[in-house]
Symmetry: C2
Subunit: 418 residues, 2 copies
């Protein structure tokens, strides 16, 4: 197979299908999503057996347990995909919504209509459930999509593709609206991210190195985040209980996620009250602590943090801690080291809460809440295709809205420009 | 001067200033705009004499009359800049606006806050008034900016820069928030569009070749439109008077603008009624007509349109005309040849108007109104920094909103993720 020719053909077909899917009625799109859910349920045995082929190949290739775990499709996993499809079907259709329609002095009415982006390219690693989640969000937002999953999940993804195709067909929608790249050849990624004439945006999901490479090489806009170096700042006017709850939850609720806290900043006025209590809990939970000099004097079992620690997303039970003079030093540290993902202030002080919200330049900024809330489901977006730490187009969790754009509409009655 | 070192220094300073300007209060930003207006009024004589240097150099270089006309600063032009500054000062401040704040089942409140983009790079050709207009919009939206005007306007732009600096200083804002590139060396453009670490978005204004080159070479996102191949479709259920008014206005109100009609599509059921009357008016106004075969049989003095005509933005008193079977053929033609700028349907038919609005994929889609309305002022945006025909971030006229982004904010009371 000539990969270039193959990917160009996918692009051309997806571009053509994007016109149909952009005009499809809400009911038809929802029906397709429910059809796909039904098809997954019907073909569950086949899905599991195809997945076994990938798992067997993965074991032969020497994949580690975590990778095999991500690759596995279980009956519970199929149920979760089905539930996800039903949830997306139940969300309001963003396409065609008209906002802000108002009369201008010239007599015309001007407003904006929400429209699909066109064709979305999604590149992800081993989890096959992303195939169904991403296809569902793209379809609901009226987009065609080209999905490129991990090469080690090729049999699983092709089995899922068959269910998606069946669901689209039964709803009378073009099956070319969702393409799942049918080759494990890694050259397909390089082609997909340069299909400028056919693909409107690329959403990479996976490790930092994958995303960095895609961003560097893509000639199409990329919606992404590289790092989640999230901070919690405990102000000296923090409520102690809230501070401890939030700092523990933000670090220990899950370690390997982008919205986990990596650095804790503590105002020096409250450090002696809060840090020993926190250190005890972290110790019990097996979290390794790396602190500044002052932190070390307050906590035993705390190694000295290096400059590199402030730059590091551990994705592990490790936490760096810095004692700062006040909110200004905290915000300066965040400005210097944050990856602009999510930051929280814990304080009862109104003025500092207001300043933190306004002045911290991250995709999510919180007061008295755990960074772990930075998530499309928690925000009520219904689902998320990813999280963006960039500023253009979409910031923070990206749901259906981020997969659409706004065009201007003008209603007149023979109006001409004077 | 080492251009690379110089541009890096501008970028670094603008990035630093962007933090201050992003936090500046509305009153302070407005004061700066009014100060700049006052400074322009005070230094008008100097502005005109510096502009004379550019005009004299331009004549020596053999610039044509149209170019010299764009380059000239007149007392009327200074008044227009002053008026523009006052209008931008009077607009509501977009920065910090919180929308959609609502309670989630978890107890947190989630909303979005409008925030500046950071540093905007603007590249434009000879008109010096863009210097003031663009700086005003960037400032109001809380952004720093780096402005790179035409090399032939270097004296004029430096004189305007002095007024802007004076106005910023008097308002207590960093003068480094607005940089006007102080070299005529064209290498500065190449540097500006690759200042990835310091510049968030590039807005090019000028001819298609400039914009195409910038888009191809930039490593920073570009907000732009290349072409304005705008269509008017006269449906067979159009009101004849409205159709003629709109078709004449859209073509002849101004010829050299991106929102002028370049191709007229007419339903065959109404062509014999509308085209001869229209052709008469176009003839009187000196508009050259190029039509399809059927058009030629209805209108004398109409040459045969070639395939190239449907692709051409004339920016001149030339119009291509095609008779189509119905709205479907009209929309297919638009889909194939439009530059996605602005299209209008003229019809009294409700269903066709509704379909056209939904299905035509352009940055502005209109019913019974002239394409000439596609403009930031006409839409009530206050002003525009440009028009985007892309879909990511901003589509259509880009005003203050397009120079901002939305971050998520979360308000809790010690909430943690369960």
């Amino acid at each position: 197979m000539d990969i270039k020719v193959y990917m160009q053909a996918l692009g051309l077909q997806a571009r053509a299908a994007s016109r149909d899917i952009s005009r499809a009625e809400s009911g038809q799109k929802n029906q397709a999503l429910l059809n796909i859910a039904e098809s997954l349920a019907q073909h569950q045995a086949h899905l599991l057996s195809e997945n076994q082929k990938d798992l067997a190949a993965g074991k032969l290739k020497g994949l580690d347990d975590a990778s095999l775990d991500r690759l596995a499709i279980t009956p519970k996993g199929v149920s979760a995909m089905i539930e996800g499809l039903k949830q997306v079907a139940a969300l309001p259709d963003p396409v065609g919504e008209i906002t802000g329609l108002h009369y201008r002095p010239s007599g015309i009415q001007v407003g904006q209509m929400r429209v699909p982006l066109g064709v979305i390219g999604i590149i992800y690693e081993s989890r096959p459930n992303v195939t169904v989640d991403a296809a569902a969000l793209c379809l609901k937002a009226g987009n065609a999509c080209i999905l490129r999953g991990g090469s080690e999940a090729i049999h699983s993804n092709q089995a899922l593709a068959a269910c998606i195709t069946e669901g689209l067909k039964a709803a009378g929608l073009p099956e070319t609206a969702v393409h799942i790249v049918a080759t494990a050849d890694r050259a397909a990624v390089g082609e997909l991210i340069t299909l400028k004439d056919y693909v409107d945006v690329i959403v990479p999901r996976g490790g930092k190195s994958l995303i960095a490479r895609i961003t560097a090489e893509a000639t199409i806009p990329v919606l992404k985040h590289l790092d989640g170096i999230c901070h919690v700042y405990i102000d000296d006017e923090a409520d102690l209980d809230k501070a401890i709850h939030i700092a523990v939850n933000a670090k220990t609720h899950r370690y390997g996620v982008c919205n986990a806290m990596e650095t804790l900043l503590v105002a020096e006025g409250i450090a002696a009250q809060v840090l020993p209590a926190l250190a005890k809990i972290y110790l019990e939970k097996g979290v390794e602590l790396r602190g500044c000099l002052k932190t070390g004097s307050l906590i035993p079992h705390c190694s000295r943090a290096t400059e590199e620690d402030w730059h590091t997303e551990y994705l592990a039970p490790i936490l760096s801690i810095k004692i700062v003079h006040d909110i200004d030093e905290a915000m300066a540290h965040i400005h210097q080291y944050s990856s602009s993902h999510t930051e929280t202030i814990v304080t009862e002080n109104y003025t500092r809460a207001r300043r933190f919200l306004r002045e911290v330049d991250s995709s999510s900024v919180m007061v008295n809440a755990s960074t772990r809330f930075a998530d499309g489901f928690e925000y009520g977006l219904g689902a998320e295709i990813g999280i963006s730490t960039d500023k253009l187009h979409a910031r923070g969790p990206v749901g259906l809205q981020g997969l659409t754009s706004l065009k201007f509409i003008v209603l007149g009655d023979g109006h001409i420009r004077q």
